[in-house]
Structure formats: C-alpha cells, structure tokens
Amino acid sequence: MRELRVFLRRRSAVIGAVLVALNVLVALGAPLIARVDPQVLDVKSRLARPTGAHWFGTDHVGRDAWSRVIYGARLSMVVGGSVMVLSFLGGLTVGLLGGYYRAMDNVLMRFMDGLMAFPGIILAIALMASLGPSVVNVIVALGVVYVPRVARIVRGSVLVIRETSYVEAARALGIGDLRIVALHILPNCVSPVIVQGTFIFAAAVLGEAALSFLGVGVPPQIPSWGNVLSEGRSYLQQAPWLTLFPGAAIMASILGLNLFGDGLRDLLDPRLRGVQGASRET
C-alpha cells in the first residue's frame, strides 16, 4: 500500500499510467471504437479531409484513418507485449544460466556482446530481410534485439545474489541447483527486469513503427501506425492529417510508457533514480 502511495504521489507517473491504460482499452475495444472496418476501401472519397463521417480523414485508397489508427493501437500493444515477454523469457534464461554457471558465462555473454554490437534497428532490419514481412517475424526480430539487454541485467543481479549467505545456506542444506535458481535467485532479480520491461515495451512499439514505416515490417494491408505514416508520407502536402493523427497516437503511447516506466523504476529500484534512457536503445 505504501508503494502505491509513493507511485500516486508522482503526478507524471499517474499521467503515464492513465495513458497506458487508455491505450490498452483502445486496443481491447478496437472493433467497438473503430466504427468502420479499417480494410474497407472507399475509392470515391479518397484523401478526404477529417469530417463527421471520417474523424481522421481517409487515405489514398479511401480507408478510414480513424479506424486504422485505432487498430494500429491494437497491433502496437500486441507487438510491444509479445516482444517484452519474449525478451524476458530469453533474457532470464541466458542471464540465469550465465550468472549461475561459471562455465557457460563466458560463451553466453560473449555471444550477447556480439548481438549488442549491432545497432538494434539494423539487426532487426537484417533479421526481417531473412524472415520476411509478418507480424510474428517483427516480434521475433525485435525480441532477439532485446534478449541481450535483459540477459545482462539478470546476469548482473545473479552474480551478486549467488554470493549471498542465504544461497550459500541453501546449498549447504543440499538443495538442488534448479530449486535454488527458481526459488531463491529468480524472485530476487525480477524487479529491475520489470522496470526494464516498460522501456522494452516502448522501444518495441517504436521499433515496429520504424520497421513498418521502412516497408520491412508488418505487411502493408495490416493497419499499423508505421504503415499509416509510411502511406501518408507520399501525401504529406495534400493530406497532412494522415501524418498528424497517427503521429500523435505514437507519441501519446510512448510518452505514457516512458512516464509509467519512470514511476515504476522509482518505486521498485530507487538506486536507479534519475538514470533514465533505456527506452531509446533501439
């Protein structure tokens, strides 16, 4: 309860939480909020200005931009959430193995260093080149990018926890490695990972938008913020609303995640207070 009060006292964290909650609601209720099918073409009213019929206007083939932005929110949440889970699973596995078993540490962490030597978006583009455009492949590509980042954090915590007296005591009692890792080490290294999670979520939303904007992410017919912006780019002069509305949606979403993440970090990991910026590591 005390934690919740600390969190609520920070106005920016509350704003962040509200923005994130709004985003989740929009994503869940997309079919109700969207009004029109985002795939339906209405060629007669292409590049229409925002009106009562089309709140955000229409694109170059007459699809309703409001519906596409709303469904784009859904895609962003799916991609962000899945990338986060994937990087947690991979990063926790590698980090726990590397931190606990000295023998594997060097090989695993050198491999992670190698992956980190690629700028994130470049590695994602290269992976997309081999995997081909699809939602699942975008998730896999971005997941691979963030596994090493989680792994490093986990390994760092494990190296400290492994030397504590309670782990030594557990070992002295003859408790097996698996049980020690699962019951004594894992629970003590999750909180920095959770904090990192919100930043990975934000980075994945940005990453998907960038990949789709470049034309190497989600296939073009699927409504995604990156796709809407990419199509709107050619009509910047005639139809600036195709850039402004999805742009505002991305910004609100990332801003919310960043504020929420900052608040969560202050709550769970006071030592890191003020050292923000992980979210830009794309």
């Binding site: 260093d113 700028p119 978006i121 470049i122 080149a129 081999s130 600036p240 910004m251 910026g277």
Partner: protein, 314 residues
C-alpha cells in the same frame, strides 16, 4: 595502463568473431538455399548446382563459416546479387551522405544536449529545469522519422524555407550540401539530445552533491568556476558513455531518416537490398556498421583514459 589498453583491445576480438558469425547465420536463416536465390527464378537445377559449388555451399557449415571469416579478414564481402558488383564498392559509393548525416546529427545532439543538461542541473527544480526536462521527455517519446515528417510539413511544405527532400552531394557545393542536410540532422540530432541532456543532468546533480564542490563554494569560488571547471569535468564521464551509444542510435536512425528525406545513403541501400532480397548487401552493410560501432566503443573507452586519471591507476 598498458595492461588496460591491451585487455580492452583483446576483448574486441570475440565480439568481432560473434558479429561475423551472426552475419553469416543471418543469410542462412532466409527461406530456401542462397544459391537458388542468387541464381534467380529462371535458373535450371544444373545452374544452381554449379553456383553452389562455386560459392562453396556444398561444403559442411563449419568449413563455410571458417572460410567466411578468412574472406572477411581479407576485406572481401562478396558480390551484390542485384547490382552485380562487389558489396564493398556499393557501400563506399553510398558512404558520404550517411557519414555526413551522422556527424552533423552528433554535433546537434551534443551541442544541444550537453548545455541543456548542465543548465538544468544548475537551476535544479526551477521552471528552467522543469521545462527543459519536459522538452527532453517529448524528445524521448517522438520517433525520429515522425519528427522528420513534421519538420518537412512545417519548414518545407508550409513555410517553404528548406527543400522537402533530396540530397546534394558535397561536390555540388558546400552550402547546397549543408542545406539538404539541415532538416535530417536536426530531426535525428534533437531526438538524441534529449537522452544526452537527461544523462548529463543526473550525473551533474550527483557530482554537485560531492564534498569538493562544497569546499570550492565555501572558499569563495564563483558559481561559474564550480560548475564548469570542477563539476562538469567529473560529470562528463557518463555522458561520454552515452555518446558511444548515441553513435549506434544515430546510425540506426540515419537508416530511417534517409527514407524520410530520400537521401541515397547506406540506409536506402540496405532497405532496397532487403526488398530485392539482395542478401550479400544486407549482410555486408550490417557487418560494417557493427564493426564500426565496436571500434567507436573502443575509442570511447580509451578516451576515458585521457579524461579520467583514476582509471590509469587501476
């Protein structure tokens, strides 16, 4: 100190080996056999078999990997399938715009971010600090390509001050070259300056709490000397680390920004290569960027030696 330099240099070797291996694996992840992709859709089974032999694809994977390392050591990145010429040649041709864009953006990022962070820390918890940090937060939340599009809309379409897109090479005149890079560099650099400002501010705040700052103030040093001579020198170390990371973000960002502004650099090269399934080009560009990034990080680490004497005695 020499031990530190040598150890740091040796640590680069495994990273480079992994980078080379990952880029080798990348091309093998692609569906289908590379030979049939290279030979194109009209090739006969015979053609493909011949190509497989000439590319060494009929040998076991570990042998291929070692040969790939060997070729890399000689600087041979293979040939582009689509452009029918060495990858390295194609890369060098596209290097100029990307290098200039990255350099200018870096300048913008540091020139805006560093002073903003210092000023924010000096006027901690005032309106100045809060508004600068609000800007930084917006900077962290806006994707660079979106900022680019908004700038095109504002300065190119509505105000007509700058060209909406396109690139004038250096030989077309310094001013025209610069003019074509103003918006792209600002779009990329301003977003990065947000990160630099935040890091600089927090490390300045940490340093300003130190005893020697209090000592300096109590012996009557001016605030200017305390901030710029004593505090900034010590606070710059974390910022330097971020500048290493910033390079990676800028190169990654350049790839995206080049698409926004139609700049024919490495970014356009890699994206068109992805769309044409020109795997050797994708592999080559990715590899070169990763190696450059590794080298920059090494230089940043060595720069600590020059700036922070404490490391020399470790």
């Amino acid at each position: 100190m020499i031990v530190y330099v040598v150890r740091r240099l040796l640590a680069v070797i495994p990273v480079m080996l992994v980078v080379a291996t990952v880029s080798f694996i990348l091309i093998r992840l692609a569906p289908g056999d590379p030979a049939s992709v290279i030979a194109g859709p009209y090739a006969t089974a015979d053609d493909i078999a011949r190509l497989q032999r000439s590319l060494g694809l009929d040998q076991p994977l570990p042998v291929q990997l070692v040969k790939w390392w060997g070729r890399l050591a000689r600087g041979d990145l293979g040939d582009s399938i689509f452009l029918r010429r060495p990858v390295l040649e194609a890369v060098f041709e596209r290097l100029e715009p990307t290098l200039l864009l990255t350099a200018w953006s870096m300048l913008v990022a540091v020139a805006v971010g560093l002073p903003a962070g210092v000023v924010s820390a000096r006027y901690h918890n005032t309106t100045v600090d809060q508004s600068l940090m609000a800007f930084a937060l917006v900077g962290l939340s806006i994707p660079n390509f979106l900022l680019g599009l908004l700038m095109i809309l504002c300065f190119g379409v509505w105000l007509g001050w700058l060209p909406v897109a396109g690139y004038v090479p250096l030989e077309g005149g310094l001013w025209l070259n610069l003019r074509s890079l103003i918006m792209p560099s600002l779009a990329l650099g301003l977003v990065q300056s947000a990160l630099i400002a935040r890091i600089t501010r927090s490390s300045m705040l940490d340093v300003l709490r130190e005893q020697y700052i209090l000592a300096g103030r109590s012996k009557g040093l001016s605030e200017r000397v305390v901030i710029y001579k004593h505090a900034l020198k010590n606070a710059i170390i974390p910022t330097l680390t971020v500048i290493g990371i910033t390079f990676a973000l800028l190169v990654g960002g350049a790839v995206v920004i080049e698409t926004v502004f139609n700049i024919p650099g490495l970014g356009r090269l890699i994206i068109s290569a992805v769309l044409r399934r020109d795997y050797p080009v994708v592999q080559g560009v990715v590899l070169l960027i990763a190696l450059t990034y590794t080298a920059i990080n090494l230089l940043v680490d060595l720069a600590y030696l020059a700036i922070d004497p404490r490391i020399r005695f470790r």
